[in-house]
């Protein structure tokens, strides 16, 4: 597509429920990244995909968080048994390659509210 698409744009869920967030990267972008942005905070790295493998998932905060990617296409970030501290904007980005020499293109994010 023309840009990085994320869905849903907003999600309100009850504590303890599972949620799935979706990211559709730019066509041809082999690298995909998930970041979390809590209110008033910077960007917190979660996971990086190169193709459908995840060379770096060091930022996932707990085993309640998981992500997968199908080929060089859509990725889903799943949060199980959501907690209130999971409330944040979840940003997805993609780039042509996996190195830091490529700029990232970001989606508009999914605002997750856990009540």
């Amino acid at each position: 597509g023309a840009g990085v698409s994320q869905s849903p744009s907003n999600k309100v869920t009850e504590k303890g429920k599972d949620v799935e967030l979706r990211c559709d990267p730019i066509s041809g972008h082999t690298a995909l990244y998930w970041y979390r942005q809590r209110l008033g905070q910077g960007l917190e790295f979660l996971i990086y995909f190169q193709g459908n493998s995840a060379p770096d998932k060091s930022g996932l905060p707990s085993d309640r968080f998981s992500a997968e990617r199908t080929g060089e296409s859509v990725s889903t970030l799943t949060i199980q048994r959501t907690q209130q501290e999971d409330s944040a904007v979840y940003l997805c980005a993609s780039s042509l390659g996996g190195g830091g020499n490529y700029g990232y293109t970001f989606g508009s994010g999914t605002r997750l509210t856990v009540v």
């Binding site: 970041y35 020499n101 970001f106 994010g109």
Partner: protein, 112 residues
């Protein structure tokens, strides 16, 4: 490990005044440096990037940044700020085989 420091959490500038946002990085080799802007409710948009060559880089929306290796800095500047520039600005550093590391951001407020 690479890191980025944006010393100013908030900055207020009068419309029409000049702007400088500070960014200091820590990285052993030649870094790749980026500035992004985030308007409310939006994702991050790339303003400009530095890879090599001329240390003064021009970006979109009239922004520029200067890479100073001796000071490990990559400050963002604009000669005359417009009300529409009010947003949050993020500096990021990358290396060839690593992901980008972002600073915590600087919120720019523009007063009339």
């Amino acid at each position: 490990a690479q890191s980025v420091t944006q010393p100013d959490i908030h900055i207020t500038v009068s419309e029409g005044a000049s702007l400088e946002l500070r960014c200091n990085y820590s990285y052993g080799a030649t870094p790749y440096l980026f500035w992004y802007v985030q308007s409310p409710g939006q994702g991050l948009q790339l303003l400009l990037k530095y890879f090599s060559g001329d240390t003064l880089v021009q970006g979109i929306k009239g922004f520029e940044a200067e890479f100073k290796r001796s000071q490990s800095s990559f400050n963002l500047r604009k000669p005359s700020v417009h009300w529409s520039d009010a947003a949050e600005y993020f500096c990021a550093v990358g290396a060839r085989y690593s992901t980008l590391t972002f600073g915590k951001g600087t919120m720019l407020l523009v007063s009339p």
